[in-house]
Amino acid sequence: MEVAKVENVSRVYRVGEVETYALRNVSLTIQNGEFTALVGPSGSGKTTLLQLLGCLDQPTSGRVFINGQEVSRLNRDQRADIRKGHIGFIFQFFALIPTLTAYENVEMPLLLNGMSARQRHERVMELLKAVDLLDRKDNRPDQMSGGQQQRVAIARALAPNPSIVLADEPTANLDTTNGEQVMTLMTRLNQETGVTFVFATHDPRVIRYARRVITLRDGTIAENGTGPAN
């Protein structure tokens, strides 16, 4: 089943008179359960593509589908609804809400989805256990290491049972050990829960984990094939 699809998508940034093609006529399909790396040098369009897949941004031309539904013509609130229900994000900086504890950060998307208190509690505990941070549940982000924060972010991304988790350079700010730990965790969650992961990276050690690798160069897909982990 297709979780996400982009069709002939271009994204042009205009800064003053200058037009930059961040993506140029990209077409791509992501199947359910994939564990896919988006690779390419800095500036090749990885982040832009993830933002389009994640309904954070809209293409200049072309169409984007999530679970078969076209999302490229939706308004702000409708896109927020798609993100809330279907998409999990993991960012390069550990994008947690600084005033909330690990527990509360994971709980946030569940609150937005209107889940009952008891279900929320169960789900948050289950996820914190899965990322091995139960003992850190009452810590604020500034009381945790980068690796721990990124694991909380992974738990949060998975909380609403999304169709797809998009991770933009999730290990770029981590040391090797923590980076490996995060990748192992994502791999395990992908295998155990079947949730689709697409992650952008230019780190060869991270690419090792991918079962499919899509290479971007100057806003176009240069290579599209199976990855080392397949």
């Binding site: 933002q51 994640g54 954070l56 941004d57 702000r76 609130d77 927020a80 609804d81 993100r83 809330k84 229900g85 994000f89 960012f91 390069q92 900086f93 994008a95 947690l96 809400i97 600084p98 005033t99 909330l100 509360e104 946030m108 998307p109 609150l111 937005l112 989805n113 949060r156």
Partner: protein, 405 residues
């Protein structure tokens, strides 16, 4: 909602001092406003009370030709057989007391010093004289038969160096348009609480005043106090007689009544100006918060939070801030008003002519002023913070996430 509160509360705690200062700004403004309102109300209230009990009464019955500005005792201006008229009015049930009074203009002189005064002829036994009788600071009040005694106010006694037992020379403009003169002995010195009023009057027994000024058995007005002043109109229409005109306290004190009625509008107007200035401080704080939290707003948006919810989040924060400010402001303003409401604020003779003001102003806090001001302060803050909140809600998640990596 609980979660909005939790987040808003914690966000405020991130910059404790900044939040506290913003709330304090609102608190100070509100305290000031509450105190001002209490002061204004107290002043207006006492001014009206003093005017009614000292000068205008609740009703006055006058001769149809009477001119209050002339203070003339020419017969054509006066009511004949005033005691009978007063007795008739006093028999109406809502009337507490009705008594004739004669006003004449005169000059008090002691040695080289002199002062223009209004001579008021009163029935000494009337209940309507309570403010003077109870206000005696020295000596005794007049009796009806007294033919040489006079009662004066403290400011006059002080400026002319008079004490109980001193004599003074009094000049009067008579009914025939001439001047008469006689020596009187000071029997008592009173203070009604309004030096401004007290300095300009002297009291004589009605019979003496009538004889002295040549008014005969006549009076300028019948001074009427009611059990309930709201009855004034009803009682006025019950008093008949083609030779009279009857004025209610509202008619006699139009300006004061008008100021009183408009005081709410006036206070509200003033409060909007003061709050407008204060609220910029809070809006500024909120704007800083929005810009500092650009990335956080992006994260929340990425998680699926909608514009409306982001507005709610920031407004909750503003509401907490406003609530804190309002609470502290109310306490401070209430305490100030209560304290000065008890001890009063001394102004002395403000020198305003044509109006009676007490020497001490006692702020008077009314619940509806407190409520109106608090609600206004709260709503104005929220309304103003709609701007930063909307700004936050309109941020594009992508832009917000890119901000300052």
């Amino acid at each position: 909602m609980r979660n909005y509160l939790k987040m808003a509360y914690r966000n405020l705690l991130r910059h404790r001092r900044r939040s506290a200062l913003s709330a304090l700004a609102l608190a100070i403004a509100l305290a000031l406003l509450v105190f001002m309102a209490a002061f204004f109300k107290g002043e207006m209230r006492s001014s009206l009370e003093d005017t009614l009990r000292l000068s205008s009464g609740h009703l006055q019955v006058r001769d149809i030709d009477y001119d209050p500005d002339k203070s003339s005792v020419a017969w054509g201006y006066l009511i004949e057989k005033p005691s009978e008229v007063a007795a008739k009015i006093a028999s109406l049930p809502p009337v507490r007391t009705a008594t004739p009074r004669l006003f004449a203009s005169g000059i008090v002189s002691v040695g080289q010093d002199s002062a223009g005064v209004q001579i008021i002829g009163i029935e000494p036994d009337s209940e309507a004289n309570a403010p003077y009788r109870q206000g005696l600071v020295a000596g005794e009040f007049l009796t009806a038969e007294d033919r040489n005694g006079i009662v004066i106010g403290t400011p006059l006694a002080e400026s002319l160096g008079l004490q109980v037992g001193s004599t003074l020379n009094l000049l009067v403009n008579t009914a025939e348009g001439t001047v008469d003169e006689q020596t009187f002995t000071v029997r008592g010195i009173f203070s009604t609480g309004s030096s401004n009023y007290d300095k300009g009057i002297v009291l004589l027994p009605l019979a003496k005043a009538q004889a002295f000024s040549g008014a005969g058995d006549r009076a300028s007005i019948i001074f009427v106090l009611l059990e309930d002043r709201e009855q004034a109109q009803a009682v006025a229409s019950a008093i008949t007689g083609a030779a009279y005109k009857v004025l209610t306290w509202q008619e006699m004190n139009e300006l004061l009544v008008l100021v009183n009625d408009f005081s709410n509008a006036y206070i509200t107007f003033l409060s909007l100006i003061i709050l407008g200035v204060t609220v910029t401080v809070i809006v500024n704080t909120m704007l800083m918060a929005v810009f500092e939290r650009t990335r956080e707003i992006g994260i929340l948006a990425a998680l699926g939070m909608k514009g409306r919810q982001i507005i709610t989040l920031f407004l909750t924060e503003a509401a907490l801030l406003a609530l804190g400010g309002v609470a502290v402001g109310l306490l401070a303003g209430g305490a100030l008003s209560a304290y000065f409401g008890r001890v009063g604020i001394y102004f002395g003779d403000l020198g305003v002519s044509g109006m009676i003001f007490g020497d001490r102003i006692y702020p008077y806090l009314m619940l509806d002023d407190v409520l109106r001001l608090s609600v206004t302060a709260f709503l104005v803050t929220l309304l103003a913070c709609l701007y930063p909140a909307r700004l936050a809600s309109r941020m594009e998640p992508v832009e917000a996430l890119r901000a300052e990596k």
